[in-house]
């Protein structure tokens, strides 16, 4: 498909956070660069993995792309239904109608769910905000998506605290999927699931991708999951992309020392294969 345009084109994306002084009045004394000069293109229907060191800027990068954070520098060109737009330049008001086309599944399921809203309300809320559905039809859609992620109609009226970690994570997934967005950024979104439920959710994501040509950015620590679902992978360390390749190339021919160290630290489910991680030295 040589004529297809990227759905997302990220150029020179950087994000700096202020560092404050000690004391009661916290003054800004310096900046911390959490994301430094990240570039990538994403084709419609593609799945991009972002892996890397804890604290390397994966979540920050993902949040900047969807404008949950304001980038300090760079462009985020998104092919919306009405043509290309640089998300980095848009106001909150201009972004609002675009929000239904791009959804984020957050890393920390508990703090991203409103404790005072039932599961039914939580999953229905974005549909109501964007006036996409209501009443009995909406309820039916909510139940249907909950069932697809392995929850049930009987859970509708429960509050988040009454769920297990993995169940809460699935509520967040259902809330994003119900919108049928064209771009989904999933931050560690299957990490709290046992491998069998995880398999069910991954199969669902892949089915939806096939049906609606969804595009995914998948931030994950579990490299076996990344290997299974991603077409391409970015490896991040200290705010920078240190390696970017197709998935099969990355796993068969890792070039950067950090990538090698990462691949060597995947524990095998066979107790007779001991873990022998290679340390990474700069």
């Amino acid at each position: 498909m040589p004529t297809t345009k990227p759905i997302l084109s990220v150029k020179r994306l950087s994000k700096r956070f202020p560092i404050y002084s000690d004391g009661v009045v916290r003054r800004v004394v310096d900046n911390f660069t959490a994301v430094n000069d990240v570039n990538f293109d994403l084709m419609p229907g593609e799945t991009l993995g972002i892996v890397g060191e804890s604290g390397s800027g994966k979540t920050t990068c993902a949040r900047c792309v969807l404008r949950a954070l304001e980038p300090s520098e760079g462009e985020v060109i998104f092919q919306s239904r009405n043509g290309p737009l640089d998300l980095a330049q848009l106001s909150e008001k201009q972004l609002k109608p675009l929000r239904q086309e791009m959804q984020m599944i957050f890393q920390d399921p508990f703090s991203s769910l409103n404790p005072r809203m039932t599961v039914g309300e939580t999953v229905a809320e974005p549909m109501l905000i964007h006036k996409l559905s209501k009443g009995a039809a909406l309820k039916e859609q909510v139940v249907s998506i909950l069932e697809k992620v392995g929850l049930a109609a009987e859970h509708l009226n429960r509050y988040p605290h009454a769920f297990s970690g993995g169940q809460r994570q699935r509520i967040g997934i259902a809330r994003a999927l119900i919108m049928k967005p064209s771009l989904i950024v999933a931050d560690e979104s299957v990490s709290a699931l046992d491998v069998s439920v995880q398999a069910q959710v991954i199969n669902l994501l892949q089915d939806l991708q096939e049906e609606f040509q969804l595009t995914y950015i998948f931030v994950a620590h579990d490299l076996s999951v990344v290997k299974h679902i991603c077409d391409r992978v970015l490896v991040m360390r200290k705010g920078e992309v240190v390696e970017s390749k197709t998935t099969s190339e990355l796993f068969s021919n890792p070039e950067h020392g950090y990538t090698r160290s990462l691949l060597s630290a995947i524990p095998s489910p066979d107790p007779d294969i001991p873990l022998q991680p290679i340390a990474y030295k700069e």
Binding site: I266, P269, D270
Partner: protein, 318 residues
């Protein structure tokens, strides 16, 4: 309460029930397991099967509408008499000493265990002040040392920051540091490494193994990652729908799984075998096999148990 096997903790026929308008829901059903002193027991199983609720019960943290509806949780401290934690009331001084002191908990969701309005340093020192007699300077020194051990670079600066300024994995490591800082006899680690990249995960696993060898700490390790189980556990308990369906040594359970659910779990790991294909789920592996009746945990060898259907169980017990 005799303790023939040198256990640090023994759960006996524990049930936990949540009451609601729609009736009572038994989240934990007749669960028994032992945690031998200085050993690591991994608890794996279905999402929602009762792993965290069992862990909360060990710390006396089940709150209404939940209640411990049956069973005992016997804690055998290194010094002093055994205690049944289920009999302690919220006001009991002993429960306070156990919670966060003798038994350290690494909670599944770091943000629920951290206060958003206190600095990381204050929270780590607070844990020390509660359970150890140390002054501020000493507490800070220990806090910095602990952050360093869990792989946080530049710990002295990081101490002054707040949870929202940390990444997911860094928060998780703070929670790990908080659980370890009081040198507990038992560590309950609920999904402690899911937010960590594999190199830092390896570092945390090494740290836990070291502590466990040096100080004889016992660990209950709740995880979905069967690779992590293979690396760190001595024994494994598998939970499914509130029950334990299989128990044994790590080698027995991972290399020779007996219960259909355990087999399904192992089949669902994404691997070279199923690359590019749909992943097998529990339903697709089980097919028409109905495991809802496989509920009677039968001991089939030393330390090895599996839940069988009643007719099979009856055959075994003859």
């Amino acid at each position: 309460m005799p303790n023939p096997n040198e256990n640090a903790l023994s759960i006996r026929e524990l049930s936990v029930t949540f009451d609601s308008e729609d009736g009572a829901f038994e989240a934990v059903r007749n669960v028994s397991y032992d945690v031998p002193r200085g050993k690591v027991l991994a608890v794996v199983g279905e999402s929602g099967s009762g792993k965290s609720v069992t862990a909360n019960a060990i710390l006396g943290l089940i709150q209404a509408p939940g209640r411990v509806s049956n069973g005992q949780i016997l804690f055998y401290p290194k010094k002093g008499n055994p205690v049944d934690i289920t009999t302690l009331s919220e006001k009991d001084d002993l429960l306070f000493k156990i919670r966060g002191g003798k038994i350290g908990m690494i909670f599944q969701e770091p943000m629920t265990a951290l206060s958003p309005v206190h600095s990381i340093g204050n929270q780590l020192c607070e844990a020390l002040f509660l359970h150890k007699s140390v002054d501020k300077k000493e507490a800070e020194r220990v806090a910095i040392e602990m952050l360093e051990k869990v792989g946080i670079t530049d710990p002295a600066t990081r101490l002054k920051q707040y949870p929202h300024e940390f990444s997911g994995g860094m928060r998780q490591r703070v929670v790990i540091a908080m659980a370890l800082i009081c040198e507990p006899e038992i560590i309950i680690a609920d999904e402690p490494t899911t937010a960590l990249d594999v190199t830092i995960q390896a570092q945390i696993l090494t740290l836990l193994s070291k502590l466990q060898k040096e100080t004889g700490t016992s660990v209950i390790f709740i995880t979905h990652d069967l690779g992590v189980v293979a690396q760190i556990a001595d024994d494994v308990a598998v939970m499914y729908k509130g029950r334990i369906v299989e128990k044994g040594s790590v080698r027995q359970v991972l290399k020779d799984p007996l219960h259909p659910y355990t087999k399904a779990l192992l089949a669902a790991i994404p691997s070279q075998k199923n690359l590019g294909a749909r992943l097998p789920t529990i339903d697709s592996v089980l097919g028409d096999t109905d495991i809802s009746t496989h509920t009677e945990l039968i001991e089939i060898g030393a330390g090895r148990s599996v839940a069988l259907a009643p007719e099979e169980a009856a055959r075994h017990s003859k």
